[in-house]
Symmetry: C2
Subunit: 404 residues, 2 copies
């Protein structure tokens, strides 16, 4: 090889373990004697076209380990979605810096960026090795059993609903928790793992893989409330009607006639508030509370799956190994090989780039408002060790004296 310079960058929404992959690349690359420099681009592809690089070789392994355990993207991220021209600029900079290995940690869009850059290098006869390293809390990359970042976010959602259920049991009413996920319901479905006893919440789960009908929703809530005297609901921010229009927008028009502008899905409590308003108005239930998990679910420090940490580190390491010992570009994928163990593979970029996975039918219960045992078995080992657990009093009632 030539320059011995490699480049790594992080794109899209941060996760609790994305720095594990970054550090996996940096530390594994140091083991290859051909590598002279490990560069990091600041704020993803934006930092590449702006030539904003830091030299990760000039960092201690001790601090790299501490950064690995820190959530969010240590190099910074970007929401830029590169088109062909943008990718040509990326390639232009890689060539100028004589970078012959490019690692990009990100989701669907990032894999597509790597695909285009890879193709442009080949067309130009430039000796580039380009590897996509997966991450997304949405778990919506095709070809992987799951994606790094999802297990830790799922753990947050499961713990949040375990707690919300206890709170709701203590002061009964209706609780609506809105979880991230525009097209894929995996993260919302993780709420089911917060349930322990048969009458625990979440009692109802709504994912974007199923059409949301307000009337059926209200009927579900009414029935659950009648049975349990309370109701805990997990709702994906991406729920939509039969036409595909997000409910957040539809309800905003119904309930608040002159709401202005588009209702964004994250970073606003609108959907939770609107569903709560509908429950109060239509079902006459007094205590109705809505929480939007927002950015807490992806950036909360101190809630992480150790399985996720380990795998995120490994996909970074495997990316370097594939780059130096393999013969083609690709996207690192996680394969499940046991209950529970994982291995890694390198998929062709065209198998992953720009594609979106949604929840498989066998993971969604027939009634459309719960998950299946197959999903519980799928997710449980990913949540990692030390999951907190909830216990109840089981003691006998005391006979009444005044009002027997």
């Amino acid at each position: 090889m030539g320059s011995g310079r490699i480049l790594v960058a992080q794109g899209g929404g941060p996760t609790a373990v994305i720095n594990q992959s970054l550090v996996g690349v940096a530390l594994e690359a140091r083991r290859f004697r051909d590598v002279t420099r490990v560069y990091g681009a600041l704020h993803g592809v934006r930092g590449i076209v702006d030539e904003e690089f830091v030299d990760l070789t000039q960092e201690t392994s001790h601090n790299l380990e501490l950064v690995a355990a820190t959530p969010s993207s240590a190099l910074g991220s970007t929401r830029d979605k590169p088109d062909e021209q943008y990718c040509a600029e990326i390639f232009h900079v890689l060539r100028a810096h004589e970078i012959e290995h490019f690692f990009y940690i990100g989701g669907n869009d990032s894999s597509d960026t790597v695909r285009i850059v890879s193709e442009q290098a080949r067309a130009a006869g430039y000796p580039l090795r380009a590897i996509h390293i997966p991450k997304t809390i949405d778990n919506d990359l095709v070809g992987s059993d799951h994606t790094p970042g999802f297990p830790s976010a799922a753990r947050f959602v499961a713990q949040a609903f375990a707690g919300a259920n206890l709170d709701n049991a203590s002061l009964p009413g209706v609780y609506v928790g809105v979880v991230m996920g525009r097209h894929a319901g995996f993260l919302t479905a993780a709420a089911a793992l917060g349930k322990k006893f048969p009458d625990d919440g979440p009692h109802l789960i709504y994912v974007p893989e199923r059409t949301f009908e307000l009337e059926r929703f209200l009927a579900d809530v009414k029935e659950t409330y009648a049975r349990h005297g309370r109701c805990v609901i997990a709702v994906s921010e991406g729920i939509h009607d039969a036409s595909g229009a997000p409910i957040a927008t539809l309800l905003a028009k119904d309930v608040e006639k002159d709401a202005h502008g588009n209702v964004q899905l994250s970073g606003t409590g609108a959907l939770a508030d609107l569903l709560c308003d509908a429950i109060k108005a239509r079902l006459g239930i007094k205590r109705v509370r809505g929480d939007t998990f927002g950015y807490l679910q992806r950036s909360f420090i101190g809630c992480v799956s150790d399985v996720d940490q380990r795998e995120a580190r490994e996909v970074g390491e495997k990316a370097v190994q594939h780059a130096f010992w393999g013969e083609r570009d690709g996207s690192v994928a996680i394969r499940r090989t046991g209950f529970y163990s994982a291995d890694y593979a390198l998929l062709p970029l065209t198998d992953v780039a720009g594609k979106t996975r949604t929840m498989e039918d066998e993971f969604i219960a027939a009634n459309g408002t719960d998950v299946t045992d197959a999903f519980r078995l799928y997710l449980r080992p990913l949540l990692g060790s030390g999951m907190p657990d909830a216990f109840r009093l089981r003691c006998a009632r005391v006979p009444k004296i005044l009002k027997p």
Copy 2:
């Protein structure tokens, strides 16, 4: 003593450690040979007037320990605020069941309930010992250094802001996090403990102890955004204008003319959304995100301070010791005796009942948008051991070639 029956109940909002106090009472009471039964009332004072009692004596110590480590109120809670007549009914039931020791775990309202019941027993010549056991995430009980439940909620808020700051640094913009606290800003101020580096957020903190002025708020945000290219803000749900009117209500009228009904402070994302709308509209900043921590901050399972757990257990134990070995009714208070150590005292009920503590002036910075080092020293030891920590890359920039 007579019947040997004691009663314990839990009132108001749940906390992460309120069951520690319950179990502290149950286990400590068993050590007194005079105690024949430990009753628990379901759903607080409501369960007393309805005679809904369970017999905690018929529970294993093993399961009691597991319940102690479970957040929220294991006996259930209530929002009932008893008046004199309601307290008379409570006393009527206590007398019917020959209960001579009454322990109520709760906040300001609960302490007032204990006070009235205590006075009615004395007036009737009934030999009742009534003890109030403190709990509230608001930290607004007078006479205590702090209240059980607050440290764990503060830890959640600090961890949430540490993560939100990392997320915001990765994808810069404005982030508004709305924290519980109607009159006291302690919990919102805890956001400051999530800050590590000088340019970290939260950059601005707004508590109900200071009048909120929208124009000044926007000027603060504008200045911070100009300096750091981003801005992380902690806002108490109870912020109000000079007349004492909650901003949630005021802004709702301004921004959304035909919003109907009262804006409740918790369980809705309205305040965060309205502040975000104001920032977008007035400052022209594009990426503005708001999260309302809602019920997550008080019921999240798996985020707890071990100091808080220990103290919540001890106030329960001390309540029993005061009841059996002391000579008067009262409210258990936490005293700080070292950095860090605590001891307990029994305050007269009239010193605590119905009073509200707010943040002391020495805890709020002169500019009104930050806390002081005195507050940091006050809070840090309460957060307990094992606080997660955030680290940064410190490596050198790579010289530019194309755009030097």
